[in-house]
């Protein structure tokens, strides 16, 4: 079972150094946060969508398009209740919806989408090992990255185990389709306890297996080859830096807000 979003391809986005990709992601997040006007954020969304296409990762986006659409709808529906405005748009059941609230909701929905799509670009073009190495070189402690990559590695196994546990309990008559909060809560222990018990039973074995392979917690590890930044990395960083600076200038001059 392969759940990872990583796409093993050779696009120019893939070839960028892991550090470049992380820094560009942070730049895109910053750009998303600079604006609240839906028009500007639509442009940003279009930009990151183009990146997704260049990175041959459109199918990953298709996996979460329902989530993106729903987050946008939720945002548009919920924000008007929290944002005051002066331009009434329409009234439902005595409640007047303001234009500013709807626009703000649209902007926030697009902001969320732009951020999530940017994340998809990173996850589709960077393997978990590359991500760990790059984050380490950017200052994240190595054990944290190692723990993350180990956990990432085990998630598909655990999802497989969840499937096996559900089947095992269904074959003993457990009704896993039971409706209602209490029904769900009642069926939870027979499902979660074997999963946790089975996993924890392996803790000592996993630790022994790691140490036997030469992984000792706290040891200093030596990367075989240290990745280097190339011209394309500096170019990408320069472009993103220029975009952030430009965005900041626009924001300070009153552009991009409602």
């Amino acid at each position: 079972m392969n759940l990872s979003l990583y796409v093993d391809a050779q696009t120019w986005v893939h070839r960028l150094d892991g550090r470049t990709k992380i820094l560009c992601l942070l730049g895109l997040f910053a750009l998303s946060l600079l604006f609240s006007d839906p028009v500007y954020l639509s442009g940003l969304c279009a930009g990151v969508l183009a990146l997704v296409i260049r990175a041959q990762s459109l199918h990953n986006l298709k996996k979460i398009w329902v989530l993106l659409a729903l987050l946008f709808v939720y945002s548009v529906v919920l924000w008007p209740f929290f944002v005051e405005g002066a331009t009434p748009l329409f009234t439902i059941g005595g409640l007047t919806v303001m234009q500013e609230g709807v626009l703000h909701g649209m902007g926030m929905g697009l902001r969320l989408n732009a951020m999530l799509i940017s994340g998809i670009v990173l996850l589709s073009t960077t393997s978990i090992e590359e991500l760990g190495e790059a984050s380490n070189r950017l200052g994240v402690p190595r054990p944290l990255g190692f723990s993350l990559s180990l956990a990432f590695r085990w998630v598909p196994n655990l999802l497989g185990s969840i499937g096996a546990v559900i089947q095992a309990q269904r074959s003993r008559g457990l009704d896993v389709q039971s409706k209602g909060v209490f029904g769900k809560i009642r069926r939870y222990p027979p499902l979660i306890v074997p999963l946790i018990g089975h996993t924890l039973r392996q803790t000592n074995l996993l630790a022994m297996a790691l140490e036997s392979k030469g992984f000792g917690a706290g040891q200093v590890r030596h990367p075989l080859f240290v990745s280097k930044m190339h011209g394309s990395d500096y170019a990408a960083l320069a472009v993103i830096a220029a975009l952030v600076m430009g965005g900041l200038w626009m924001r300070l001059n009153g552009y991009g807000t409602i």
Binding site: I64, I120, P194, T203, G216, G218, V220
Partner: protein, 794 residues
């Protein structure tokens, strides 16, 4: 780490949070908690698109609380990382930072507060058994939920994504409700087991506070002259080793002494619990450096005392392959797996550039039979390929000694043959290999066999000597070689160790085989009237992924009272076929009828078709054997009295009468497997499907399990066994369904199917040695008794 500091001391936080990164066991625990949390979160992150915590109750949120109370700071890292991993499946954004922080605190605050609330604290262990513990628990989780909700709510509002007062109450209430309802039963179940497995954080912290691990006092140093002699002539020297793990009642190794010359292939044999694995762990210092306890004796590997250096530093000298080899795979592609192993080496490699590394990888993958798979995800490989990848990841460091703990257990015959060829190649290169196993017939070319019993090294000799003494093998729980047993009492001096030797011996003794009377061969299937069909599959197909059929237009039926084996190599569709039979899977095409009812209409038919899964740990969840076995009967709607009666009957059927009040987790794997069978029997199914019932069991446990199946069959159950163990099929099943690539290759009486060696070979299986031996005379025999009856003397 200093636990004497108060719980609010930042110095203590810093110390114990960093300590997690310095202890492999805690690091693994944090990754496991993260993986569990992420696995249960992912369906809520991407499958049910919602505003987190707002629409749907998230039971997963109980995991950080429970983990925190049991595992302390490891849970904080685990909860934080788990949430980030959940985000990595589609919702990664700046809010992930606050998600990490909020969950980190959610997994840390309960541990900090438990026992530190002054007069509000119960002063007891973190389970809810009294009202004071309950009150402390509610206060602790309320505080943790509030901190978590406030952090995430504030952060998300800071980013302008959602208002604080929308998200805060949703997260707070969800966490509080879930942890209140689900936490106490989970803690009640997990706490004693976590203590038993020596994973309770306060116990671990106590161990750590006792000081760094030092060489055990009992470890004696050899004289310098002896050391140099040892270093030059032998690979492994074990001298008078005795070891009793902490909390264990008896020693797992008793005065074991063993010398293994360089380049030898040694097999460790013995029943489960005889000390084979412990002896393997001794060889790279896991015992006593990782598994601690009372230790005396000396172990030298290539002149290096194993107790003197950390385990991870010994990986260059001793490569270890574990029985559960998947625990050793940590990367997302084959090349990264090998690279990771090298990077852990600490910079002693001599690659001049990336190309020389790639060349090294190519050579290594060629050697282990995985050419061209550099970019493959390890988990997309077959079981046999994964095991060879683990061997490659060990070989990449070029250790002179490789130790393997029961490497053949999970392999089908084809995988086993490939693995044995690899072993021979490695041994030919001069690598010393030490293997623990249950049966010796696969390893007949080994230089030496060492038999262990109750921790003592009781016998040493060549494989042929052991195979030639079936009584000795039987006494120590080693799988006897059936062909040797056939020749007992026939006046043979040396009993055979291979089929070829058996043919030669038969010629020398002038023995041949004749077909027994047909009535003798078929008496067990002869019936006066045709039995009723209980299960029928018509043109059934099944898919796990679109376009990749796991089963293609299969038609087969099963009659009442049959003992059938579904046979095939890994991935041939055996388990899929079986899961269709009780409605666990629905066919994408065709019909499955159980006693005339279509499973697509009825759903799972647990009361008619019982399915015993391969791994009993995937279903055990109750505190006692009685509750575990009663679960199936309770779900079938039985009254408490009926449940008691059924539990008694089921435990009697599996030979576990008297074990009602035992903790199922404290039993051996064979016993847990029998509990799993009993829990299915308690629902009184007419048909029993058992998936790989003998995997991981020694000869005695396997025989016990299969004899139990035979007894149930005689009581009137229809038994369907899924296996790739040909000996089991030959000895027990009257009918055999042979599968390959999702289709049925053959279906008929076992003898008929086994009479066609080409057919068996085409399914990538191998006939039992005994059957192959008999086929020289044109007869198909399945058991030792049949051969004994079929001997014809000159």
């Amino acid at each position: 780490m200093n636990n004497s500091l108060p719980c609010w001391s930042p110095r203590r936080w810093y110390g114990e949070l960093r300590h997690v990164w310095r202890d492999t066991r805690l690091l693994v625990l944090s990754a496991q908690i993260a993986a569990i949390y992420a696995s249960v979160l992912i369906p809520f992150k991407v499958g049910i698109p919602i505003i987190p915590g707002f629409v749907e109750l998230r039971p997963a949120n109980v995991i950080p609380i429970v983990s925190s109370l049991l595992f302390g700071p490891a849970a904080a890292w685990g909860a934080g990382i788990g949430n980030v991993i959940g985000d990595c499946f589609g919702t990664l954004g700046p809010a992930s930072l606050f998600g990490f922080l909020g969950n980190f605190l959610y997994g840390y605050v309960p541990y900090l507060l438990w026992g530190n609330l002054g007069w509000l604290s119960s002063g007891r262990e973190p389970v809810v058994r009294s009202w004071r513990q309950g009150m402390e628990y509610v206060i602790v989780i309320a505080c943790a939920s509030m901190v978590c909700a406030a952090t995430i709510g504030w952060g998300v509002e800071l980013l302008g994504l959602l208002p604080f007062w929308l998200l805060f109450p949703a997260i707070f209430l969800n966490n509080l409700v879930m942890a209140t309802l689900l936490g106490p039963p989970l803690l009640l179940f997990l706490y004693p087991r976590v203590k038993q497995w020596n994973l309770y954080y306060r116990d671990l912290a106590f161990e750590a506070a006792a000081g760094p691990r030092q060489d055990p006092a009992g470890d004696r140093l050899l004289p310098a002259s002896s050391q140099s002699a040892v270093a030059e002539s032998v690979a492994v020297s074990i001298q008078d080793v005795t070891f009793r793990p902490i909390h264990a009642e008896r020693s797992v190794l008793k005065h074991v002494s063993l010398v293994v010359p360089r380049g030898e292939l040694v097999v460790l044999m013995g029943r489960s619990g005889s000390g084979k694995s412990s002896l393997c762990y001794v060889l790279n210092g896991l015992v006593p450096r990782f598994i601690q306890g009372e230790w005396t004796g000396t172990v030298m590997v290539h002149g290096q005392r194993t107790t003197q250096i950390p385990v991870w530093q010994q990986a260059n000298c001793v490569g270890m392959v574990f029985q559960d080899f998947e625990t050793q795979l940590v990367s997302t592609n084959v090349e990264a797996e090998l690279r990771c192993a090298l990077e852990a080496q600490g910079g002693t490699h001599d690659f001049t550039g990336e190309e020389s590394f790639h060349e090294h990888v190519r050579r290594l993958l060629d050697l282990v039979g995985l050419p061209g798979l550099e970019r493959r995800d390890p988990f997309s490989l077959s079981g046999g390929q994964r095991q060879r990848l683990v061997v490659a990841s060990v070989l990449v460091r070029e250790p002179p000694v490789i130790v393997m703990d029961q490497p053949l257990t999970d392999l089908d015959p084809a995988g086993r043959q490939q693995f044995l060829r690899l072993l021979a190649e490695l041994n030919a290169k001069g690598i010393t290999i030490i293997i623990a196993g249950h049966g010796v017939d696969d390893l007949v070319e080994a230089d030496r066999v060492c038999v262990l019993d109750a921790g003592e090294l009781v016998w040493q000799g060549t494989p042929r000597e052991l195979l030639g003494q079936p009584d000795l093998a039987g006494r120590y729980g080693v799988t006897p070689y059936p062909l040797a047993e056939c020749f007992r009492g026939r006046g043979a001096g040396n009993l055979p160790a291979t089929v070829e030797e058996a043919w030669q011996l038969a010629d020398t003794l002038g023995l041949s085989l004749v077909a027994p009377q047909s009535s003798e061969q078929t008496s067990n299937v002869a019936r006066s009237e045709p039995p009723a069909t209980v299960l029928e599959l018509s043109n059934v197909s099944a898919h796990y992924q679109p376009g990749v059929p796991a089963l293609s237009r299969v038609s087969v039926s099963f009659q009442a009272g049959e003992f059938v084996a579904i046979l095939g190599q890994n991935g041939s569709g055996k388990s899929t076929l079986a899961k269709l039979c009780n409605g666990l899977l629905s066919p994408s095409e065709g019909r499955v009828l159980v006693l005339g009812s279509d499973t697509q209409q009825t759903g799972v038919l647990s009361s008619l078709v019982g399915y015993v899964f391969q791994n009993p740990d995937h279903q055990i969840f109750a505190e006692t054997v009685r509750k575990e076995v009663a679960f199936g009967a309770e779900n079938a709607g039985c009254s408490p009295h009926q449940c008691d009666v059924r539990v008694t009957e089921a435990l009697q059927a599996v030979g576990l009468t008297g074990a009602e009040e035992l903790d199922p987790f404290s039993l051996t794997k064979g016993e847990r497997q029998r509990v799993a069978v009993a829990s299915i029997l308690a629902a009184k199914p007419r048909i029993l499907i058992v998936d790989e019932p003998t995997t991981g069991l020694d000869a005695e446990e396997s025989a016990r399990m299969m004899n139990m199946m035979r007894a149930l069959h005689r009581q009137g159950h229809t038994i369907i066994v899924i296996t790739h163990e040909m000996g089991i099929v030959a000895n027990y099943a009257t009918r055999c369904v042979l599968m390959r690539g999702g289709t049925i290759l053959a279906d008929g009486p076992t003898r008929d199917v086994f009479s066609d060696p080409e057919l068996i070979r085409s399914a990538a299986l191998a006939l039992p040695a005994l059957t192959r031996f008999a086929q020289r005379w044109g007869v198909t025999l399945l058991t030792v008794e049949e051969v004994r009856k079929a001997w014809r003397t000159p």
